[in-house]
Symmetry: C2
Subunit: 452 residues, 2 copies
Amino acid sequence: MNSKATHRVVIVGSGFGGLNAAQSLAGADARITVIDRQNFHTFQPLLYQVATAGLSPGEIAEPIRSILRRQKNIEVLMAEVAGFDLERRVVQTDDQEVAYDSLIVAAGASHAYFGHDEWIPFAPGLKTVEDAIEIRRRVLLAFELAEREASGGEPPAPLNFVVVGAGPTGVELAGTLAEICRHALAQDFRSIDPRQTRIHLVEGGPHVLPAYPEDLSRSALEQLQRLGVEVLTSTMVTKIEPGVIFMGERRMNAAVILWAAGVAASALGKKLGAPVDRAGRVLVQPDLSIPDHPEVFVIGDLAALKDKSGKMLPGVAPVAILEGRYVAKLIRREIEHGETSPGKRWPREPFHYWDKGSLATIGRAAAVAQFGKIHISGFLAWLAWLFVHIFFLIGFQNRVLVLIQWAWSYFTYERGARLITGSTKLPGWRQWDSGQSVNSKDGQEMSTKTYK
Amino acid sequence: MNSKATHRVVIVGSGFGGLNAAQSLAGADARITVIDRQNFHTFQPLLYQVATAGLSPGEIAEPIRSILRRQKNIEVLMAEVAGFDLERRVVQTDDQEVAYDSLIVAAGASHAYFGHDEWIPFAPGLKTVEDAIEIRRRVLLAFELAEREASGGEPPAPLNFVVVGAGPTGVELAGTLAEICRHALAQDFRSIDPRQTRIHLVEGGPHVLPAYPEDLSRSALEQLQRLGVEVLTSTMVTKIEPGVIFMGERRMNAAVILWAAGVAASALGKKLGAPVDRAGRVLVQPDLSIPDHPEVFVIGDLAALKDKSGKMLPGVAPVAILEGRYVAKLIRREIEHGETSPGKRWPREPFHYWDKGSLATIGRAAAVAQFGKIHISGFLAWLAWLFVHIFFLIGFQNRVLVLIQWAWSYFTYERGARLITGSTKLPGWRQWDSGQSVNSKDGQEMSTKTYK
């Protein structure tokens, strides 16, 4: 640690926002502490590749310590943040207190189940590496169990996979799952035919990729349908039970149900005592600080801020990255000018987000991209997506490995990381056949009646 | 499935033995079923690389289905085998029965805790991918918790890692752990110094690598000591508690304890009703079948067979591979000659193992190798080890990925897969300070007193 420095900066969370804030404070005259409950940074845009067995977790995750190793004024603590004492200016972890002069909270967000958290074990979301491994386990296991039943004499029933929510995550999950069934797994089974698997993408709104311009939404829909995904728009999920999903009158048996709808900001937002919106995001000032606490900043998916046009900034990596750099620059300047005492903090340049465009992938050579007025679809958009993501992937080694794996699966349709680890049970597997419902809190139990 | 074929072969287990038996039955006039409780083949010789964060699980594991995809006469079932009915010639899984005409049992072995299974949660072994991930978690977590304590004001106490058993697995674990502490992690912490970590390798016998010629054992010992490993030979472990290991009078606090001693054959061996040795290995006939059941074969680590010189064949991959091929050839020939009825099965050529040599790695550019009369050590032996293992690694993609990762970490000392997933607790972490013992069955509990 830089012992001469007296100004202490604490950064909570090491996603895109927290990490970029830390990196932008390189060489600053401050002692910086990054606190995260995990020891690695997850490259979230590629989580769906882990969930669909295309990449290994290690290839999209990098230890926070090695990313920040050369910044001697930074220490990293792996700890769970329990709360804050803004008056005493300390962050409380489960076993200690960490004092700060400037605080940056970048704790991110996860999925919202619209007040139905009881659905979580039956329809996992995709926000962490653990989530991705769990989804991979369920998808691969569904085929294994179906093959086992069919080889044991049961009539093979085509599998249903349901993805809830047609935002970028839902779209890439559905598209990639459809590909796997048609290609990677097509030749691997003897008693079932994975190509018969039906992938359903359920969206409450009228369009897939709602945040995108309508022409791109339409194009995305066509590309999804070309991949064999059955898209249900304007359809609300009303209930989820083990292995069964209800959409109003409609009831569908599903071997795997995945949740990619809604946003729920980290619970740490509320603990700052600042106003939050319905999703729990902190309503920050134009300088990303919270009211009455110019020394406390909230960035990334946890922050709610409107741009000049009054449109809410989207919860995407570019926004978090720029917010992290903006706050770091601001703290730096105030340290250099000795303006860190509350009275002298003003005026601050408000944060301005300049939208460079957005990309969403759908599957093999399928994507949509918007760069200002320019809208592109298909192979070109997919190439753009690919190179942007490999370029921003943290760690040179990861870039090489991911590039190889993608080239490999592009030409062979192979999926390199098809590991089932952990439990070998699926919540509600075939429970609709056994007529016996499943009593499960952790989603690990299942009915074995069907095997009798 | 090949519907014309009438002869049914069931192979239990898809390690080196089972997999090679299956592959050698390619095109045979038989219906083959491979049953494994996991959906992937694990390249066990590289498990220690996963445990030490050098490789990702996906890089040393390959889905059994994709390995055997092109063999249309083979079906793969992911299921747990519960037992056998040798009279009715069926394998019983947890939910169905699979009939056979020829049975190959290759269920492998795990570690023996010498009747102290209560030590398992406090000293995990390294036999499966799950084991490797758990060991990786514990090793990395030990440093994170120590850094957290030290940054919280506790005096940093140097960490002790203990590896029990100095066979090939114990030696490579101890050597690689020593390297990581000196290099990969050296710059990553601010409050502790990983180079102060003490790696202890405890062996009950007088030498490390007991199965190797004495000059190579001596060389291995020197190479270990050069890496900074403290080797304790002729030392028996008498008790293990959470975070504490006892060797007779000696009591040592240990942040991580790893078990690499003893061999316990799979419990399926006993269920065959054939005689077994103390380790539970099945005492097979010279043709690897069991008494009175020429149609039932046991191969790999589960089989106990002496060579001409009366020496027990070692539990290593080359033996299992050759046994698998031998049995497959034998079954093939008897099918072709219609000799599958018990009366006509004789005579059979006995299995003969021709030892091509053995290799053991110790760490970066450190290894020992024996090819008949030729004994080599150090860099050359390590190169030999490296190329043999990359060559036998299943899946071209894996070979490329592993080669890149090794080249990368060889030149940069980096470890690419430093992920802590799962629980963030360590059994008995610092419990000797809190004076409060830990009550834990699954090894996930710990005392948090020390953080107060």
